[in-house]
Symmetry: C2
Subunit: 217 residues, 2 copies
């Protein structure tokens, strides 16, 4: 499949590399076509990966992974252009963490809404699915790295078919079907997004980012 | 030990009953001395439990469990009176969930601060420890009910000695020492408190409130 990966940070690089490993054609999108990191990404995956502006990537991709920093996600998607996004699934991995006022970061969008919801509102003709924002990117594409892969990840969104597509990607990344919990519609993105302060505190207390939570009952 | 339990809801009743089972003397505090629920609590624990106003309970208790609804916690503590609280440990179990605008509830205090922090600020001469707010009350006092008791609970607060006391209570409730994660100072209360929307979404998706999370790495 032709896939757009928005964002040139660790998350975009990790997701893009995994998608290529799985045989997909990937274009990494960023603000400018000559972004150093996306050029390095293309060089690393010589001849298979592509890079371009957000608009180039959105036009290229049948599906979009939003791996931008959450504080800039809506602007990035606006730069891509609604005409290239409409009708498509946007898998939103972002967290709207604001580190500008020091530690701990706060969320720029929280409590009465969420980044996932705001993206869905801003682009009503897309199908937004919140996913994978609750773990370090290494675990996103390699859950088997810890606890035999037995721990949970969350999805939510308004479109059932879109969520099924995302589940298929997650399974291809190594997530066990029983551990992918569908929380419901896109308003449920508040849960996984507002979990971030706890994630950061656990990371701080344990000094290990390669952890996740497993629901036990 | 003489212990004040603030709040007459399920959490107060559950915590108070467990403390009595453990041999403590408990006074349940509420707005009025003739609160029906606290009178029923005393009747249930005939001759061992006590009830009174928040001020009565605070004067009685060497330590205070705040089991009030989070939206009213600071007011309840103000009604108790600083003179009866100063120097004492306040174990804050509350969540500032506002259900008044329908589902999902929002938090009245979040993101840039937390209820735990606000209680500590309002009563600077107390020692606030956030604890137990991340599970259904049945599990708070009976973690062995699920997964052999192997799942996590969080504490945080500014006073190390106070946190040690709280750990001792948690162990007496059945929590394994290795599963009580100290997140740090009271600002870390944002994590466990902002986890509530995810807790509610997991509960909604699974229709089972007797669950918890286990950190795996």
């Amino acid at each position: 499949m032709k896939i757009a990966v928005f964002g040139t940070g660790n998350v975009g690089d990790t997701i893009g590399s995994k998608l290529i490993e799985l045989g997909h054609a990937v274009m990494m999108g960023s603000r400018t076509a000559d972004n150093e990191k996306s050029i390095a990404f293309v060089a690393k995956h010589n001849g298979i990966a592509h890079s371009g502006t957000y608009a180039d990537a959105a036009a290229f991709g049948e599906i979009i992974f939003n791996c931008t920093a959450g504080v800039g996600s809506i602007e990035a998607l606006k730069m891509a252009g609604e005409q290239y996004l409409n009708g498509k699934v946007i898998i939103d991995l972002a967290n709207s963490l604001d580190f500008s006022k020091g530690m701990p970061p706060t969320l720029t969008i929280a409590n009465t809404t969420s980044l996932g919801e705001e993206i869905q509102k801003a682009f009503p003709q897309t199908k937004v699915v919140k996913a994978l924002n609750t773990t370090w990117c290494g675990l996103m594409v390699n859950p088997a790295m810890i606890n035999g892969g037995d721990h949970n990840t969350f999805i939510c969104g308004n479109d059932e078919e879109a969520k099924e597509k995302v589940k298929d990607f997650l399974k291809a990344f190594g997530w066990l079907g029983k551990n992918i919990l569908d929380l419901g519609d896109i308003t449920k993105a508040r849960g996984p997004e507002m979990y971030l302060p706890l994630w950061l505190s656990i990371y701080g207390a344990t000094q290990n980012g390669a952890f996740n939570i497993k629901i036990v009952s």
